[in-house]
Symmetry: C2
Subunit: 164 residues, 2 copies
DNA sequence: GGGCAATTGTTGTCGTCAACAACAATCTTC
DNA sequence: GAAGATTGTTGTTGACGACAACAATTGCCC
């Protein structure tokens, strides 16, 4: 049916149609190639793994990094505002902030304007730590460049700019 | 510090530095813009949601679709081969196939060459169903085109071709 | 050719994460 | 002031990846 059915293999046993011993890279994906979602999913897995590995020493994962970055750039934000901006549920953000607060990177300050909400700030430690995280994140970004090419990375960011 | 700190708001109360009432779209992302991983993650969320919605009537999710497509294009594959090719763990694939087999889309046939393994095939129902799924998936792909542009989608697939 | 390592499918556990629902405290609105 | 909305919190559920253990079977090695 497809081209892959005619390929050879380490232990070929063609003819009866049953199980041949084949390698993963000779399996045809057929319609799957040409699906943006599939390519994006695989790429996203790769990129997250590299991020986690590159920031492994400081134990910061992508979501934590995004939270710290947004708070650093917008001190005093409420949890609701951060959650909405990053597309995180506020229930999830609670635990994320619990962890970051325990590590003394972030502090929740009771707002006086709205006593329901917390104004989020980086601690002193948090600021210097974030600076280091950003350096490591830049290193990770260089890995992306090495993987797909500098120009392609630029183009990718341009294409997906509407989703930030 | 950042430009966003000087912006206005619905209920501005600048000066004391505490909580202002601000909208999500006026929060600066600072360093987050320019991170490929963040853009890709947001895009992937959007694209999966659209896929799930578009294939909602037939209740097929992206992973199920990828499994059916690979089996359809390579009949007789073992579970191990499918798992390796799609980057799914074989433990996870067990449940996926249980579900697809219950829905009479896929059948596991005991292989005679290697009695440990199962040769995976689509059923008759599975073939006609997959044809329908592919039509819906093509519709989803058109949504992607409308979102980012036809040329950009092509370029995206080209850039990420190495991850399929 | 007999024994040992590797592979395949399966089951189970653990930790992460998104999606909800419910709740108390507080704010907004009328 | 009362009713409804919002904020942070807690808890539950289900999907998912990573791992480990296991039986059945195969491949390999001496």
């Amino acid at each position: 049916m497809t081209a892959s059915a005619a390929r050879t293999s380490r232990r070929k046993r063609t003819g009866n149609g049953a199980a041949r011993r084949i390698d993963a890279d000779e399996i045809g994906l057929d319609a799957l190639v040409g699906h943006a979602g599939y390519a994006v999913r695989r790429f996203q897995i790769w990129i997250f793994q590299d991020f986690i590995k590159t920031l492994g020493d400081v134990d910061i994962k992508p979501t934590q990094y995004s939270v710290l970055t947004v708070i650093g750039a917008n001190p005093g934000l409420s949890q609701m505002a951060v959650a909405k901006r990053l597309g995180i549920e506020r229930a999830r953000l609670v635990h994320l902030l619990d962890s970051l607060e325990q590590r003394k990177l972030v502090k929740r300050i009771k707002s006086k304007e709205d006593r329901r909400s917390h104004a989020l700030h980086l601690t002193g430690q948090g600021e210097t730590a974030l600076a280091k995280f950003k350096r490591l994140a830049a290193e990770h970004e260089r890995h992306v460049e090495e993987k797909i090419g500098k120009a392609n990375r630029e183009r990718l960011l341009q294409i997906l700019a509407g989703f930030t």
